[in-house]
Structures are given as structure tokens and as C-alpha cells.
Symmetry: C2
Subunit: 386 residues, 2 copies
């Protein structure tokens, strides 16, 4: 993996992407809504660079609030149906921020064994006992809670909403049922791959699962005077479906104000750069007001999964735009990836990632901007190779 | 701190900065070389947005390497005098990355009590015993090592190079002397406020202290077959003096290749956005090739500190462009800040920050782009208020 030998992307990520000088039909990465190279985002980025420069060079507690940063927070609050939001440097640290802010609210951490690296890192950061439960298995979660929690102790449950490589969803409704017996339990979901993609409003895996508003709970943020029933939190990134950059935590006004007033990520870290923030604010507005993009994505996901099924390849039937294929051993999958690429189509072979076995897997990413013809071309070419 | 009441910056940070509609003479933040709004950076950001979009939407282990990301790493390696560099989402997590990558190399952590939040967080993340030593006190570090390390155990020493609010430097040469007795010791410096500013080449606090190249040690990166003498590492941000965005770790080729091949921040986090990366690459080139900017900054720092000294205000005599003033109680300092602002000059009053006492402090940031007249205006106005 010396820098000389790695592939270099020479255009925005999109249904066609230029890599090392060649234009490929592209089914890789996380640009699910096809916004990374959207002209409105690019215009917003350039306008902001000219008006505000690259960054505020200042803490947000002093004079470091540039309008694009605040725009992202306003747009994200509206997009996700909350009062406020906290926008920060990278989605990677969303779980860190939540787990540290609420550290007096839990006694032990229970984490899906296939959770993303950042979820594992945040779990470790808590300094509490960390127990892994079997992937996407509410019964094993229940067993782990019974086994490891002492009476009166409060669990923190951590998981991805959508798993980046495997493309499956955490069974959040089942987790919620399990947690109903645990006073003060908190479920914290990293929804990096669900936000913008899942749910009628694009509010992610919790919305898709019907957990965003139950019993009048608009959500899910811990209030100091709150009841002790189970609560749900989520964080995510705006660099994937939204085509922008940076991490986001939406919440009620009180929760976000307390979070900002105490988090070192507000007081002591740079906000995302102005050009990226401006593009991200525009992206949030586009995603919120153009639900037809998500409908188109879901349709494409259905077409890809049905087509793979006809080829005898096993997939799930969710609207998640990630298809994980395990076809023979690593060598066979590398061959398929390589031969597809020779024919001008790129999918990813992932040798190692959270949740993958020793042989790795092929990963197909579906975009809203793929046409039916593009998808048919992928399916036809795959058919000859598998 | 509701979003309605916070000040909003409406221009690039610079010697003159527009806040809430008024143009101020500005001595706040971290834009020490005045690059945040530099036309060459803005042009680079816009060109990159148009050519590559906002971000690669992909892991760097797959197809997610955009040319601006690799440019930053090449330019940073050259700027800091190393073979290679790793460029990542935020300087806040540089210590996290290093401490996790090298976690089998130390048994206990010793950290300056006034270190930045991110250094404290990374220390906690290690899961090792964490011992604080008195701020900038090599004797207390030595005592802590004697008290807490068992025979054969290896210490990890963590500190800021320059302290963000206090503006003082860690006595790194003294720490190096203390560590000479400890086989396998590692000193890991967060040089967020030193990079670009200190040292003949702008390589930071280690260069300023003469520790970047002693005994032919070009540096400072742990090699698997390396001797067990004390080692030094540093990380930092490119969002302050450099006017760009993102975290940086320079190192030898072998070290950086191993770091990238194992770090979840390479495999599982978005690289900084393309517009910011392109601006940052340009900034690194500017800083490397125009040492006169740094000379000008040092001259301005000398002028400010000498002037404050004539007003009877205590400062240090280092080239660090941060002046921390404690003048009476919080109320008095807030008054000075407010009255200066009424007269069109902004400095910061920091109520709370790592290293500050309960009354907080005034903080003056000096830029290379301040003119002698601007500095004189600050000193004259301050004289009337203190």
C-alpha cells in the first residue's frame, strides 16, 4: 500500500468515476444519493471559500462561528426533525462525544461485535466494562445484560444502525423490547450509513424501524429531569449520503445546548471547514426537499437486489444500498473484482473490515444516480464472471 | 449560549475581521500566519471543489484517494522534513491515532496536568494507568516516573508542545533528559500551536528545542527493529498557522506505512474534504517556501510582548504568538475585553480552558499579518483600560 501503487480518484465520486485516468461505471463507496459532485454543493463551497476563507481558526465558544456552520446545524435539525443539532469535525467521533457527555448515565457498555471501529473505540473510551454481544442478536444482548449487569446498573447499548460492509441493519425494535426491562438504559446508534437513506424523511435506521416517535417521545435525548425509561440517541456523518462532510448529532434544544456547553469538541476542536460546511448545508436542504431522490435510490436498490437474486446470489430485501457478496474464497472474489474492472465496472473487494470474515467480501454500493441501463450492465457482466 | 446570542464571524479570520456586521482589528484565534483567507488557498479550494467534488465518499484503502489528500501528505512530509505523512479528519484525534497504533509499546501514561482536552482524552483511551504531572515541571515528571513505574515498565509521556490558552511551551529538552534513564520511553507531543510557527523550518516545538535531529536521529518514529532509546513523536493540525484543515502525523516511510495499514482512521474514516485538502496543500507549500512570513510573525510577537512589558504586564520572551494576561478578576477582564471591543479591537476573554484558573484569562493572538500600526493601536488602547 505504498502511495505509488494506490488507485487515485480523479473526478467526483458518482455513477461514472475516473480512476487512474480511466472512466468507470462505479458502484463503490458511500455516495448513495449521488451528491458529492452536485453543482449546487460545489457552488456553495466556492461561494463560502471566497466569503469566509477556509476555516474560522477559532473555538466556537469565542468568535469561531461562521454562518455555514450554523446553517448546517439549522438544516440538520429541520432535516432530522429536532430542535437543534451539533455539527463537528468528523462522524468518526460522534459516539465519543455522546459517550463522554453522558458518562454519568451508564455503568457498563454492550456493543454489537461487528460494530464499526469508531463505535468500538468510543466504547473503550468510556472506561466502563465493555461486553460484546453477537451480531444483530437481541437474544444474545438480553443474555449479556442478564449475565453482566448488577441490580440497579444502567446499560449503554452501542451499535451501527446499518453495517458498512455487510449492508445489514441492527434489529433496533427488538433491542428496544429487550431494554424495556432496564430502567435508565440508553441505546446509542451510529447511523453513518442510514442517515439520508432510510425512513420516509431520510432520518435513518431509527425512523425506518418506527422508533423515532413512539408514545409521543419525539425522541430520545436524555433530559436532566427526564423519566428513566429507555432512551435512544443517534449520531452520524454528512459525508456519505449527503455528499458533504462532518459529524452530526441532532437533539432537543436542552440536550444540544448542554452538549455544546460541556463538550471539548465544541470548545477545543475546529469546526469543519467553511467550504465543506456550506456544501453540507445545501445538501441537507436538497435531501429534505427532494424525497424523490430517496425513492429513486430505493427503486435502484430493489432492482440490483432482485437481479442478483436471479443470478442465485443471496441478498437481503431491505432498502439499504449496500450489497455484500461472499462468492468463494478471497482469490475468487479478487478475480471477479479485477475482471469487472477490466470491463470498465468497479465494485469493491474488501479484504478486511469490521464484520467481514477472513476471506473478505465483494461490496456493491447502489446510488440514486445509477440508471437502469447501468444496473443492467453490472448484472450482465457479473453473470458472466460468477 | 443559544445560537441567537453567539457572535458570528462574517469574513475570513485576519487582522481585520467582520463580526456581527462590524469590522474589528482582530487579535483572536489561531490564524498566526494569516493564511485562512489567503487568495491562493481560496483558489485552490474552489478548483478542487470543481474538479473532485466535496469528498471521495470512500475509504482510503479502496478508491478513496483524491489527489489533494495525497498532495497534503507529500507537502507535509517535505515541510516537516520526513519521508511521509498521514493526513486525517481532525487534529483533535492525532494523539488517539498514535496512542492506539503503538499501544503495545507502553505500560503507563504520564500527562501534563494542563494538556489539551484531546491529549487527556487520548490518555484515557489507552486504558493504561494515567498519571498527571505538574504543568511544565520536569522534576515532577521525574518524581512521578519513579513513583509509579515498576521495573521494566515503559512510560508514554503526553503533552502539548505549546499550550493553547496559556501560550507557554513544554520544556521538552528537560523531559528528554529525564527520559534518558527510561528504556523504551516515548514522548508524544501535540503541537497544534507550534507547527508552522516555531523552529527555523516551522517544524514546531521539537525543532525549536533542538530535539528534531540529535545524534543523527532524523527522528523519532518507532521502528519495529529500533533500539529502545527514548523516542519522540508529534502530531498537529493544519487548521491553525497553516490556514487549512485536518490533522497531520509526519514520519519515516516505514512508520507511516504501518500506521496507515493498521489505523482505523485510515481504513474507516473520511479523509478531509477535497476543497480543504487542496487549500491545505497550497498552504504547506507557501509556509515552506516563504520563511519571511514566520520571521515577520516573530518580529510582531516581540513587539507585542515588549509593549505589554512596558505597560507592566507580565509575558514570556518566547516566539509563541499567544499572550495570556491575567489582570484582576473575571469581571475586570471581561470589562477590558468589552471596552476594547467597543473601540473596535477584539481580543478573547476565555472563561474556562485547559490550564486556566477560575477567573479565566485574556488571550491575545499575534498574526504575521498585523502591521506595526495595528499593534500600536492595541497597546495604546489597552494602556487606557488596564
Amino acid at each position: 500500500m505504498s502511495p505509488g501503487s494506490i488507485p487515485i480518484m480523479q473526478s467526483p465520486a458518482g455513477p461514472h468515476t475516473v480512476i487512474d485516468g480511466r472512466r468507470y461505471l462505479y458502484f463503490v463507496g458511500t455516495g448513495y444519493l449521488g451528491l458529492q459532485g452536485h453543482p449546487e454543493l460545489i457552488r456553495a463551497a466556492c461561494d463560502a471559500a471566497r466569503q469566509y476563507g477556509i476555516g474560522s481558526a477559532n473555538s466556537r465558544t469565542a468568535f469561531g462561528n461562521l454562518p455555514p456552520t450554523l446553517d448546517v446545524e439549522r438544516q440538520a435539525a429541520e432535516c432530522f426533525g429536532f430542535d437543534e443539532a451539533f455539527y463537528f469535525a468528523s462522524g468518526y467521533v460522534g459516539n465519543h462525544i455522546l459517550a463522554l457527555h453522558l458518562e454519568d448515565r451508564y455503568d457498563a457498555v454492550f456493543v454489537d461485535e461487528f460494530s464499526h471501529y469508531c463505535v468500538m473505540e468510543a466504547s473503550r473510551l468510556t472506561g466502563r466494562p465493555v461486553w460484546k454481544f453477537r451480531h444483530a442478536d437481541p437474544e444474545d444482548l438480553a443474555a449479556a445484560l442478564r449475565r453482566h449487569l448488577k441490580p440497579g446498573q444502567r446499560p449503554w447499548i452501542a451499535s451501527d444502525g446499518v453495517f458498512a460492509a455487510r449492508g445489514d441493519m441492527a434489529p433496533l425494535a427488538d433491542y428496544a423490547n429487550v431494554l424495556a426491562d432496564y430502567s435508565g438504559a440508553v441505546m446509542c446508534i451510529d447511523d453513518a450509513h442510514g442517515l439520508g437513506v432510510l425512513g420516509t424523511g431520510g432520518r435513518g435506521t431509527l425512523e425506518h424501524t418506527g422508533l423515532l416517535a413512539d408514545d409521543g417521545l419525539v425522541l430520545a435525548n436524555l433530559e436532566p429531569d427526564g423519566a428513566d425509561r429507555p432512551r435512544r440517541l443517534f449520531c452520524g456523518t454528512l459525508s456519505k449520503a449527503f455528499g458533504g462532510y462532518g459529524g452530526i448529532i441532532p437533539g432537543t434544544r436542552g440536550f444540544i445546548e448542554r452538549l455544546k456547553s460541556t463538550s471539548p469538541y465544541y470548545r477545543g476542536a475546529s469546526a469543519p471547514p467553511a467550504p465543506a460546511a456550506a456544501a453540507t448545508a445545501r445538501a441537507l436542504q436538497i435531501v429534505r426537499t427532494r424525497p424523490e431522490m430517496r425513492a429513486r435510490l430505493w427503486k435502484n436498490v430493489g432492482t440490483v437486489k432482485a437481479g442478483l437474486c436471479r443470478l442465485g446470489l443471496e441478498t437481503n430485501d431491505t432498502p439499504v444500498p449496500i450489497v455484500c457478496l461472499q462468492i468463494g474464497d478471497a482469490e475468487n472474489m479478487q478475480r471477479i473484482q479485477r475482471e469487472l474492472m477490466q470491463q470498465g465496472i468497479v465494485i469493491a473487494y474488501m479484504a478486511a473490515y469490521a464484520g467481514l470474515g477472513p476471506e473478505g467480501a465483494l461490496r456493491i454500493a447502489v446510488f440514486a444516480t445509477h440508471t437502469e441501463e447501468m444496473i443492467q450492465q453490472l448484472l450482465d457482466t457479473l453473470q458472466k464472471l460468477v
